[in-house]
């Protein structure tokens, strides 16, 4: 098995991870998002020529209001730190339970640390689809961020990941 940047030649239609929302995004939107040069880049895990997993990474900012927020022309302004977000990670249902998710996460973390060598990134964040997914990331040292959003958001500091993974 190996990872590659998502390309048109990958057959996305047969991918099923058991979460309709992720499957649908992968089937219909992943390639478009990448082609439109929007922020998300998708990496696929392939076994021969079959896609057995994927993840997508995007840049974003994590903003926090040191209360009270400064008002700039009447608009609240917040401090923010640059981050890379693991927006999605999924394994085909026929391949779940084999530790591939752990290895794929390790691959994604190393992608982020490689980028962090040359670009200032403070956090790696994760959008978890639900509480069970959040628990998965917590097992690897990601901590919950308190936000107003429904979906769990987690983060690990780049400097801690560097100290731990030795890069």
């Amino acid at each position: 098995m190996r990872v590659e940047k998502l390309a048109k030649s990958h057959d996305r239609s047969t991918f099923r991870c058991g979460r309709g929302e992720l499957d649908e995004w992968f089937h219909t939107a992943a390639m478009q998002a990448q082609q439109r040069n929007r922020s998300a880049r998708t990496t696929v895990l392939v076994d021969d020529d079959t896609v057995v997993g994927f993840y997508s990474l995007a840049t974003h900012a994590v903003a926090y209001g040191a209360a009270p927020p400064q008002l700039v022309r009447g608009v609240p302004r917040y401090d923010a730190v640059p981050a890379v977000r693991l927006a999605r990670l999924a394994i085909h249902e026929d391949h779940q339970g084999q530790g591939l998710g752990e290895r794929l996460l390790a691959t994604a973390v190393r992608d982020v640390l490689a980028a962090a060598e040359h670009v200032g990134i403070v956090l790696m964040t994760v959008d978890a689809i639900d509480a069970a997914a959040a628990a998965f990331y917590e097992r690897y040292g990601f901590v919950r961020l308190e936000t107003e959003r429904t979906r769990p958001a987690l983060a690990a500091r780049i400097k801690d990941l560097q100290a731990t993974l030795g890069t």
Partner: protein, 91 residues
């Protein structure tokens, strides 16, 4: 089989033109107009939230978050598993 409870309502005003357009598109897919509008809206909402460029830490947690950023680097016991996991080779 579990049934999905749809107990919330959404009322919206729209122009005759918009109404015609939505009905035509929904008929094309053979879906009731209300389902068509909701599915399209929900799908776009998911996309927007997934691709949002700024994640806001809740105000009540901002001070703690800021302090956390300044803590010196430390090895994460849990992330050791990631250090030990073999990453996939990239081609």
């Amino acid at each position: 089989m579990a049934t999905i409870e749809r107990d919330q309502r959404l009322n919206a005003r729209l122009t005759e033109q918009e109404d015609r357009l939505l009905r035509e598109a929904a008929a094309e897919l053979g879906k009731p107009v209300s389902r068509f509008v909701i599915e399209a809206g929900v799908e776009q909402a998911r996309e927007i939230l997934a691709d949002t460029q700024v994640l806001r830490v809740a105000d009540r947690a901002a001070a703690e978050f800021e302090a956390w950023l300044d803590v010196p680097p430390q090895k994460l016991l849990a992330a050791k598993r990631l250090a030990d996991a073999e990453p996939f080779e990239r081609t």
